[in-house]
């Protein structure tokens, strides 16, 4: 039998429609693959016995199953954000995107994908369950925080996946694992049922094997949701209509601030080659300036941690998850949080609390909000004259497991190219654009103005259709 797990979702949808494959067979091939290699990749958590897959609700496979990050609520199935503090949490409701998937005739895997605890990280090493390994080189990280999703899709342990992106958590692992990752415009996809990290930055988005699958999944999850007061009520186009292999006449900006010291030579070369390719296909390029780029990382680590410190106040051992055994209320709060949160979570909550605390609020939090305005204005100005902006997704390919764990600041800097899109609220996609000599994937990032995902799809699809990178498979 053909290995169905190696196919894309749109190929499988076609096959199920033509009765050439059954959903049961797709699920069976996925579980076979997971049983064979997940002990090496560790893309999934709480795996248990995958020979008896847990199908949601109907207990029947439907459509093409989606792999879900461990921070998206699935009724009846553990959702723990890969944190000890949420151990055993079984959501009493489905996230809106999960409802969307069901209503579109698909199912999802009851086993969730690994992530950095509460999405705090760029390597998936901050998981309570231990790190995920990059399928292209098991000694390397898959990126993060949606590293489980990215590694599963890249190793054919998943057909397609839903992750979340607060500062690059979909795009950076997609880049490290050689797949397609999209962060939609803020407000395009409902965040209802996504366990919040930084509410003004978080977006759910697809991690897929190719651009068409990304458009397919966006058609399913996009749209207004009254349960999310930040979701925006604008019409959703059919994104598959934007899959046109033609970039003639498009004006693309190359921000000079992204091609500076710190950018790896092999990454730079691959991105420049991709730009040449798009030039040959008829797009025009011009160097531009996003003047406030140097402030993106510091602004992000104030705003994201401030919002996180507030969002994570709910984990106090009262309503769900882990509770430390102490007989005094204040000590119960403190011990529960001290023992339940991992190192990075504690670091971020304390940093965020500091930025919001009396005496520091104006100097850090308020100032960061103002610089955020400047960063957004940089993009607003550029998109008056340009259709999109192209950059590397990450300054380096996947790094080795353990390499950056002792130096949090170095880890934070690996998000340097992805953070601005979250601060500005714009959509951005990462597509594979080459490999290093050591065989690690490199990603190309395309950004567009608010609600112009179609432009991203058009450029990404044109590039993909004229290259072979997305067809490369790992040796696993």
């Amino acid at each position: 039998m053909e290995e169905l797990n190696r196919l894309t979702a749109h190929e499988l949808i076609e096959k199920t429609r033509n009765k050439e494959a059954l959903s049961e067979e797709i699920s069976a091939s996925l579980y076979k693959r997971i049983n064979e290699i997940d002990s090496k990749v560790k893309a999934y958590v709480r795996l248990g016995n995958t020979k008896e897959p847990a199908y949601p609700r109907t207990r029947e496979p439907r459509g093409v199953p989606v792999t879900i990050k461990d921070n998206i609520c699935t009724e009846g199935y553990n959702t723990e954000c890969c944190s000890k503090i949420l151990k055993g949490f079984i959501p009493p409701y489905d996230a809106t995107v999960i409802k969307n998937i069901r209503e579109a005739g698909h199912s999802y895997l009851g086993q969730k994908a690994n992530m950095d605890e509460f999405a705090f990280g760029s390597s998936t090493e901050n998981s309570f369950f231990g790190p995920t390994h990059n399928p292209w080189n098991l000694d390397c990280v898959p990126g993060g925080s949606s590293g489980g999703c990215a590694a599963a899709v890249a190793s054919d342990e998943a057909i397609w996946a839903l992750g979340s992106d607060t500062g690059g958590s979909i795009r950076q692992p997609a880049s490290f694992c050689g797949i397609v990752g999209l962060k939609p415009t803020y407000g395009r996809v409902s965040r209802y049922g996504l366990i919040a990290f930084a509410s003004s930055l978080d977006q759910i988005g697809p991690l897929t094997k190719d651009v068409r699958d990304s458009a397919f999944l966006m058609n399913i999850i996009s749209g207004y949701d009254p349960d999310d007061s930040t979701s925006v009520n604008t019409p959703v186009p059919d994104y598959t209509k934007a899959l046109v292999s033609d970039v003639k006449g498009l004006k693309i900006g190359i921000p000079k601030e992204y091609f500076v010291e710190g950018l790896g030579l092999e990454v730079k070369a691959a991105v420049e080659e991709a730009i040449d390719k798009l030039k040959k296909l008829g797009a025009s390029f011009k160097e531009i300036s996003l003047t406030h780029t140097e402030y993106a990382v510091p602004v992000y680590y104030i705003i994201a941690t401030a919002e996180a410190s507030s969002n994570l106040a709910r984990f106090d051992g009262v309503q769900y998850g882990f509770r430390a055994k102490v007989d005094n209320l204040m000590d119960m709060y403190k011990k529960t949080r001290g023992q339940g949160f991992g190192q990075e979570a504690k670091r971020r909550i304390i940093l965020g609390t500091f930025a919001l605390s009396h005496g520091y609020y104006d100097a850090y939090y308020l100032r960061a909000l103002k610089v955020r305005t400047l960063i957004k204005q940089d993009f607003d100005a550029v998109f008056k004259d340009f259709d999109c902006v192209i950059t590397p997704t990450s300054p380096t390919p996947a790094f080795r497991i353990g390499e950056k764990m002792t130096d949090p600041l170095r880890m934070y800097l690996s998000d340097i190219y992805t953070i601005s899109a979250n601060l500005a609220g714009i959509p951005a996609i990462s597509v594979p654009c080459g490999f290093t000599k050591k065989g690690l994937p490199v990603g190309l990032q395309i950004m567009a103005k608010h609600f112009d995902e179609e432009k991203l799809f058009r450029v990404a699809y044109s590039y993909e259709q004229n290259t072979e990178w997305h067809k490369m498979k790992t040796k696993l």
């Binding site: 209320l329 000590d331 403190k334 949160f341 304390i350 100032r367």
Partner: protein, 94 residues
């Protein structure tokens, strides 16, 4: 500037109990991180308005109608400790 005393105070505000060694390590790391973040002081923010969201929206209200919500059983299902229709916590008043 951030030092061990401030971190200890902030950890209390955040209701996080830290081991002495953890406190020491965290203080050093945060000092390093804040040192980097202090770069923000160089930005010229005169006459710049702060934004808390990239997409402008204000006073988003739902219709004032009754909707289904979680049942008590479901809301209590994950509680580490419960009694009847209540969450149970350590005794707060003598």
């Amino acid at each position: 500037m951030i030092d061990q005393k401030i971190v200890e105070h902030v950890a209390h505000l955040a209701r996080i109990d830290l081991e002495p060694k953890e406190l020491e390590k965290l203080s050093m790391q945060l000092e390093h991180i804040i040192g980097f973040i202090d770069k923000l002081k160089q930005a010229n923010v005169d006459n710049v308005l702060p934004i808390s969201h990239a997409i402008a929206a204000s006073n988003v209200l739902r219709e004032d109608v009754l909707k289904k919500s979680l049942s008590q059983d479901k809301a209590l299902a994950n509680a580490p400790s419960k009694k009847g229709s209540f969450f149970v916590v350590p005794k707060v008043i003598e």
